[in-house]
């Protein structure tokens, strides 16, 4: 009897321990920030109350953002899978179903990094087109040397992978919702947030895939 109680206690203790010491894929120990509720209030209270409403909407977090923040972008496997599954379901396609657009348009979108800056000090002019800003993080065409390294090099993307329907769809899906493939990636969810339209995404896909695109040609 005593033994049974002891085992029960041990099990409870172990469960508690596992809860507190949840490990991520990389083995880093993670506990929830102990002041997160207060921190969220401090953060929210830092913004002017007379800001336009669409500004404050940018402070809202969906479930993915909340989980990624909580786990410092490195969630445990089960959470990761849950996020990826839910995000996959959000992907929408152009009405005509064509996923390959005009690579020359895609080249412009990839290079353009302005748009969407708000605030009172240095906002973008209203109606400034939003760019994909791909070069901020990725190498693409060889001729553009000012590329960032936060994301992998995409030089010769189509040349290396071929242009099967599967690869085209993968490229579209990844740009539309990057979290469908790797939860809490640094890459924005361009389609989900309507940062780029489905049509604009097809142009970027063409920029990545077309044999004539400088991504593949040079």
């Amino acid at each position: 009897m005593n033994k049974k109680i002891a085992i029960t206690f041990l099990c409870v203790a172990l469960t508690q321990f596992a809860w507190a010491e949840e490990k991520t894929a990389s083995g880093k120990s993670l506990s929830k920030n102990p002041v997160s509720a207060e921190a969220e209030k401090v953060f929210r209270d830092s913004f002017r109350v007379d800001s336009p409403k669409y500004w404050s909407q940018r402070l809202e977090q969906d479930e993915t953002m909340k989980l990624c923040s909580q786990y410092k972008d490195n969630p445990p496997v089960a959470v990761r899978q849950k996020i990826e599954l839910a995000q996959k379901a959000t992907i929408r396609y152009p009405v005509d179903g064509k996923l390959l657009g005009d690579w020359k348009e895609g080249e412009k979108i990839a290079a353009h990094g302005r748009g969407g800056h708000i605030g009172f000090i240095q906002p973008d002019k209203p109606m400034t087109p939003r760019g994909g800003n791909c070069y901020a993080c990725h190498q693409l065409a060889a001729k553009e040397v000012a590329y960032g390294t936060i994301g992998p090099s995409l030089h010769h993307f189509g040349k290396i992978r071929g242009n099967s329907d599967e690869i085209v769809k993968y490229a579209y899906d990844k740009i539309y919702n990057s979290n469908a493939f790797s939860a809490c990636t640094n890459m924005p969810r361009f389609g989900l947030h309507s940062w780029l339209t489905p049509e604009e995404i097809t142009h970027v896909v063409a920029f990545l895939m077309d044999p004539e695109s400088p991504v593949n040609k040079d």
Binding site: A39, V42, Q61, M65, K72, G119, G148, P188
Partner: protein
């Protein structure tokens, strides 16, 4: 000092020739920054502002016709040597964790009799409008040059602000899913050609924090840490936080604690 000022004036002229660069020329600016640094080794335009700040510090101003010389930045009234390097910290008289700018505004209100609105009206300079706060912070910052950053955040209120800062650092939202960490949470990355420090490490946070306030070549102005962090929010496509808001102070506690031990080299000069 005179010789240093002359070099500074020459330096300012060189920088003015390059200033006005737009974001589209960011990469060119980055390339040429090494050249500026060489040319301006002794002639950071921020030195001019430091001299102006020194004057403002001692000048009797405001409704109370008082100087700031009795302002206490944590080491005692008027004690500025090394004070910046130990901020933000908890202040008993206000019951708040304050950064250099919060404390400076507090002193402008309590010692000089300015209203908070008057004190913060020109918290950053615009073309044609100078900022006393920028000048004063540059002066106060320079008084920590050569001193190690020391923000252990051991007081319970400081510790809490560190945790709040850490929470905000990793908090993702907005139309690009951004947080501070996506650009500043890894080693050896760059955005376009700009190197990104890993601000979660002593090395990365130290390299970033030791040179503020800093003259920004692309902006043609000295930026304080408040200005720097408020602009980070803009770049992340977030709304604009209020000047001196707790979020910005909390982020500074997070960054300064991570940077603790790094020797200050301020005022700096940056892209």
């Amino acid at each position: 000092m005179i010789q240093r000022l002359i070099r500074t004036l020459v330096g300012a002229a060189v920088v003015a020739a390059f200033a006005g660069s737009t974001a589209a020329q960011d990469s060119k600016v980055a390339d040429e920054l090494a050249k500026y640094r060489e040319a301006l080794a002794d002639g950071n335009p921020a030195d001019l502002l430091e001299v102006k700040g020194e004057g403002l510090w001692a000048e009797k101003r405001g409704p109370k016709n008082a100087s700031l010389e009795q302002c206490d930045f944590g080491l005692g009234p008027g004690k500025l040597d090394g004070a910046y390097a130990q901020l933000p910290r908890y202040f008993k008289d206000t019951g708040k964790v304050m950064d250099v700018e919060s404390r400076l505004v507090h002193c402008m209100v309590t010692l000089q009799g300015f209203t908070r609105e008057q004190a913060t009206k020109n918290w950053f300079s615009k073309p044609g409008t100078e900022s006393d706060i920028e000048a004063l912070v540059t002066f106060i910052g320079a008084k920590s040059n050569g001193k190690p950053i020391n923000v252990p955040a051991t007081h319970p209120e400081e510790k809490k602000m560190y945790q709040i800062g850490e929470y905000i650092f990793y908090r993702r939202s907005g139309p690009q899913d951004f947080s501070c960490a996506i650009c500043h949470g890894q080693n050896d990355k760059r955005i376009r050609l700009q190197d990104l420090g890993n601000l979660t490490t002593k090395e990365g946070a130290g390299t970033a924090m030791k040179t503020w306030p800093s003259y920004r070549v692309s902006q043609g102005a000295v930026w304080t840490m408040q200005r720097r962090l408020i602009d980070c929010m803009r770049q992340a496509r977030f709304p604009e936080p209020n000047y001196l808001s707790d979020s910005i102070v909390a982020l500074q506690v997070y960054l300064q604690k991570n940077a603790t031990g790094t020797v200050m080299e301020t005022p700096g000069i940056k892209r």
